[in-house]
Symmetry: C2
Subunit: 268 residues, 2 copies
C-alpha cells in the first residue's frame, strides 16, 4: 500500500506545477499524472461536464492502483471535489483548501485577492474556504480568462502579457490586498510578471507548494508514506496526442525525459 | 428531401458567423446547428481527436435528417473533411475550399496571407488548396492562437487586441500580400481591428460568406434547395451547458431568440 503511486490529474499541463513541488518534497514517491488534453480547458465549462470528466479520470487512476488522488486543477477542485470524495475510497486532495489555508495564515491586513479561471471564480470556492477558516477575512476575486492561453502561447514575459495583467488586476490592486492567491495552476509561470505588477509588498500564494505540503501531511497521517530509498518512477497519460504535452511540458517540469501515453477515456 | 434542414457544426460558437451568412442568403432553409462546447477549442488538438469528434457530430446531425452538412470550423475542415466525405452519404462542405477559391480570384498581385489556429495552419490546408487552384499563387501563413480567447473574452476593439494583432501580423505584412484569409470562424468578430492594422489595400476574406455561396450552389445543383415560402426554423444543440452559448451566441447572431439543447455525444 505504502509503495503505491500518487495519482495527480489536471485538465492539461498546468498540474505539472503541483507535480513538480511534490517531486521536490517527496523524491521517492512514484507518481502517475493524467492530463485531459483532449478536453482542455476546463475553466469555461459547466460543473456537470467537469464532474463527469473528473470521475472518468479518477476511475482510470484507481485502475492504476494509486494510494491518493491529487486534483491539481483549480477548476476541477472547485467544481468536482465533493463528488469525488463521496464516491472514491482513497483520500482526495484539491488545490483550493491548501491555498486558502496558506493565504489566511500569510495575510497581515486580512485582505486577500484571488485570481483564476471563470469556472473557479464563479464557484466562489476560495472565498467560501477562506470564510470557513476565518469569517473575518475579506476576499476579492477576479477572473483572468486570457492568462492560460498566454502561458500556453509561451508569452511569459512579453510586453503584452504585462498589459493584460495590468488590465485584469486594475480593480483588485485598489482593494488594498496584501496577499494574492494564484488560483490556477498555469499562473505560477507568469508569477514574476504578476509580482512586478502588484508590487513586492503583496505576497503571491502559489497553491502548488501548499498542496504538496498537504499531501505529505496526509500520507504521514494515514501511514501511506513510502519508506523506500530509490529514485521514483514517473508516468504521464494524456487524452490527446502526447507530442504537444511533451513539448510544452518541459516548460513546466524542466528537461525531464517524459514517457507519455495516450488513453481514450470516453471509450472506457 | 428538399425541405430537410441544413446541418452546421463547429467546435463552439464561431460557426455562427457561417450560419448567419446562410440565413441571409437562404432565409427559408431550416438549420440545425451543433456546437461542441464541451470540447472546444479544436485548434490546438490532434487530427485523430478532431476526426473522432467530427464523426460523432455528423452522426448526430444525420439522425436529425439533415440534407447537407456544413463544417463551419476551419480546424475540422482542415483535418476531418476527407474522412467525413468518405463515410457520409450527404454532401459535406468545409470552409477552406470556398475561402481559398475566393482569395485566388480576389488577389491582384498573387500574394495571399492566411491566419488561423495552430491546427489549421499546421495542416497547410489553405496553402494546398490555393496551389491546387493556381500553382503560381504565393501563400504565407501565421498561426494566431490568442485570437479565439480574445474574441470569447469580448475584447473586440480593446487596445490590447490591436497590440496582439500587430504582433502576430508583423511578419505577414512584410510579405506584400494584398489578400488575407481569416482562416478561423471567430476572426470576423475582430475584422475591423485586423483591417485597421493591415490597411485598406489588403482585402480580408471571410470564409463565412464564400461558404454560404457554395452551399447555395450545391443545393441548387443537387436539386436540394427548399422551395417553401415560410419563415425558417432554427435549432441549436451543444455538448456543454446551453447558458454560455446563449449568452455569447448573441454576439455572433444578434438578438435572435435561441432554443438551445444539451446533447451528450460521448454516450451516443
Amino acid at each position: 500500500m505504502k509503495d503505491m503511486p500518487i495519482g495527480i490529474f489536471d485538465s492539461g499541463l498546468g498540474g505539472l506545477t503541483v507535480m513538480s513541488q511534490i517531486m521536490k518534497l517527496m523524491p521517492c514517491e512514484d507518481i502517475i499524472y493524467f492530463g485531459d488534453t483532449a478536453r482542455v480547458p476546463y475553466g469555461s465549462k459547466s460543473q456537470e461536464s467537469i464532474i463527469k470528466y473528473s470521475m472518468q479520470i479518477a476511475s482510470f487512476l484507481l485502475e492504476k492502483k494509486v494510494k491518493i488522488i491529487v486534483v491539481a486543477c483549480n477548476t476541477a477542485s472547485a467544481l468536482a471535489l465533493p463528488s469525488l470524495r463521496k464516491k472514491l475510497s482513497v483520500p482526495v486532495i484539491g488545490v483550493i483548501e491548501p491555498g486558502a489555508k496558506y493565504a489566511v495564515n500569510a495575510t497581515r491586513n486580512g485582505r486577500i485577492g484571488i485570481i483564476g479561471t471563470e469556472g473557479t471564480i464563479n464557484s466562489s470556492s476560495y472565498v467560501k474556504e477562506i470564510k470557513r477558516i476565518d469569517i473575518k477575512k475579506k476576499a476579492f476575486t477576479q477572473a483572468c480568462p486570457l492568462f492560460v492561453p498566454l502561458v500556453e502561447e509561451g508569452w511569459l514575459s512579453h510586453p503584452i502579457t504585462y498589459l493584460i495583467i495590468e488590465e485584469y488586476l486594475k480593480a483588485l490592486t485598489k482593494k488594498n490586498i496584501d496577499t494574492l492567491i494564484l488560483g490556477c495552476t498555469h499562473y505560477p509561470l507568469i508569477k514574476k510578471a504578476i509580482q512586478k505588477k502588484v508590487g513586492k509588498k503583496t505576497e503571491l500564494v502559489d497553491s502548488a507548494s501548499a498542496t504538496a505540503g498537504e499531501v505529505l501531511k496526509i500520507l504521514k497521517k494515514d501511514g501511506l508514506k513510502s519508506e523506500r530509498q530509490r529514485k521514483a518512477r514517473y508516468q504521464f497519460f494524456v487524452s490527446d496526442s502526447p507530442k504537444k504535452f511533451q513539448h510544452v511540458g518541459q516548460r513546466f517540469l524542466g528537461k525531464l525525459p517524459m514517457w507519455v501515453k495516450k488513453i481514450n477515456l470516453e471509450e472506457k
